[in-house]
Subunit: 411 residues, 2 copies
């Protein structure tokens, strides 16, 4: 124990304090995957362009490659006539130069010949034998992409730590990154509680409930590119919990202990995090509702982060989204932000907060983009279904009225 | 050919027309997966509660189970004293009833004994030997969840066609759905174009570009729960393209042909979709920018949908998001909507549209939730990276000025 333990920090201070004491970001282990297996993984390194893009002057239209000076002033009343000098095949560099007063037929994506600087769209022309009637002028660069117009060679493209998804995978494909280095951050998840049983336990033993939190945590963390492993459900016995935490600690970078709603489990958890290598326990309780009984510890030397989550399903989800994700993103990179979309949107009914506590409430959007709060107790299990994100009431906000704008974090 | 072909419909009319002619929704093939493999799959059937939730009256706090009438009027100045009658173990039904004038120690999640109707929080009590001093009154139901309070038995919970994700997987776990029926909608993806080469082709042959669209399509569709299979890159030859479309048609429910930006490929594509079983080609061109040259066909008898996409990467992404996803969601269910979040947000700079065309422009959000349009030509490959969604300019919108609100679809 290092005496560093902070009680009931705000969420922002918690993120800063833990990141600082544990010296985030850490150098992560990486591994290579084929691009076809890289969806929803995290880039281990910055990606820069190995060639300009497009690699050639390319047409954006079906039409005719021309030199813009040859068609200057052309209109339907005063067309210009050019000599049609062949056709450019797709996927080939034109073998000859465009001569003055000539045009070459070109398709969308075709490569411009030397001497051409623009494309006249097919609908602005009429072809008669070998003469092309051009009824519209073009400027240098019209209807084409110039070499390197979008991306210069060596230009920085994608950031280390960013998620590979449908918005970024095409960039990797364009530049031929058929194998990618991705981040291998391992997260072990332990469920605790004498009353908690596995999902396939049916019928339910009287007094028991099925494990919910490890499913939610797995799904959320997998979707954000982390490698998760579950360690089953551990009864409320300190020795069993200790040996499971030790095993998970040695096998993972991050250990999540999903409570255990009883006091004894929370106490065990706190004691066991204190037993870990220095500094051990860092944060006991966060000024967040739901989610207050969160525990955070870790070791910058071992490069381990350990988090004890509240047992209530809604509390666990809020902590996972509002505390664990931001911590993991700070852990892997100094430049990657959590993919939150923070907006201010109008409320459809009043919401009431409590000064001094940051509060999160799941919500749905109506068809007009207004926020419908889903009032739920922390023990509810369905409040997140069909939700669009979380309303955030900052520490200084008490009541937000119907029609006023409220801050929301969209998933 | 059925003579049904519509030219240049609006996007809304396209979705309605295709859904109507092809008799969406279709009965899909389903298969069972273990819950641990169900993340990002689509529920094949409605899910209802097989028990009430919570299954017992449970405590939401650490404290003491009481009968509220016994502590009526209790305050720190006028505390009430109760007889402490043991402790409730987690995961067990209390073996005895709560006697009048008594309290039982209970943890969060513990089950209330017969005779108790509420929980006094531990911080509102003081324990001295066998007497519990209670310094606060509670009402019937305070600090507990009553049996079935959140979910009644047989209550409808999750909709057929909805995505299993971190917001819904906990509901499945709660009710013991350890194996889930998910939708098996197979989507085959064909890339075309003489200039298009695979991602692992390095260095690039002069004049060629690497396939981008099949990667974007795969990623987007996988993330939304569809089973994708790629069929490689087919050169601009009608016979080769025909035999590949036929194979993909027989092996999948949906075939996507990612253009081929050349006229010849587009023409082949149109002819080949016309050759398919009735009605064949349904839509040639959509009033959407980018994405106008989209082709849609299919057969309600064979239960097949075939879509030809424009070759430009940005056009392909817009069509995938704004046309293909809504079609697939209508195909699988009459009740599932595309998981779009449609909002009106302030613009940081002017955007210009064209009356009569529905336009989509990728955008980023700034820290204040304002929309930064990412002006991009249709041939750009990086416009979607770090974007938050698409600005939508409807057919009737021309210019939206800086500071005005614009409609956006958030990913």
């Amino acid at each position: 124990m290092s005496g560093l333990v902070k009680e009931l920090l705000s969420r922002g201070d918690t993120l800063d304090f833990v990141s600082h004491v544990l010296c985030f970001p850490w150098k992560t282990r990486n591994y290579q995957v084929a691009l076809e297996n890289a969806n929803r993984m995290l880039l281990a390194e910055d990606i820069s362009a190995n060639t300009p893009y497009p690699p050639y002057d390319r047409s954006l239209r079906d039409g005719y490659a021309v030199n813009s000076t040859d068609v200057s002033g052309a209109s339907s009343s005063f067309p210009v006539y050019l000599n049609l000098d062949g056709k450019i095949s797709m996927g080939e560099i034109p073998s000859s130069e465009l001569l003055p007063g000539s045009a070459m037929e070109i398709y969308t994506g075709g490569i411009l010949p030397e001497g051409a600087d623009s494309v006249v769209m097919v609908e602005d022309t009429e072809l008669s034998e070998k003469w092309l009637e051009v009824r519209s002028s073009v400027q240098n660069g019209d209807n084409i992409l110039k070499t390197g117009e979008e991306v210069k060679e060596n230009q920085h493209l994608l950031k280390q730590g960013s998620l590979i998804d449908f918005c970024s995978i095409g960039v990797l494909a364009t530049f031929g990154f058929s194998r990618i280095n991705v981040i291998d951050l391992k997260v072990g998840i332990i469920s605790t509680g004498d009353e908690v049983v596995p999902v396939d336990k049916s019928p339910l033993h009287p007094g028991c409930i099925r494990d919910v939190n490890s499913w939610t945590l797995c799904s959320l963390l997998k979707d954000h590119g982390f490698n998760v492993k579950t360690y089953g459900i551990i009864p409320d016995q300190k020795n069993l919990l200790r040996s499971c935490i030790c095993q998970a600690y040695s096998e993972n970078d991050v250990v999540l202990i999903s409570g255990g709603s009883s006091v004894s489990v929370r106490d065990f958890c706190s004691e066991l995090i204190e037993e870990l290598p220095d500094p051990g326990l860092l944060v006991r309780g966060i000024q967040v509702r739901p989610g207050k009984p969160t525990l955070i510890g870790g070791s910058s030397e071992d490069k381990k982060l350990v988090i004890g989550l509240p047992g209530h399903p809604l509390s666990c989800s809020v902590v996972a989204y509002a505390i664990i994700l931001p911590l993991l993103f700070r852990l892997i990179s100094s430049r990657t932000m959590v993919p939150w979309k923070s907006l201010f949107l109008p409320l459809i009914s009043d919401v009431h907060g409590k000064t001094g506590l940051e509060e999160f409430i799941p919500f749905q959007l109506d068809d007009s983009g207004r926020v419908i709060p889903k009032m739920a107790k922390s023990g509810y299990i369905s409040a997140m279904y069909e939700s669009s994100g979380l309303i955030r009431l900052s520490e200084s906000v008490e009541t937000v009225r119907k029609g006023e704008e409220v801050e929301v974090l969209l998933w």
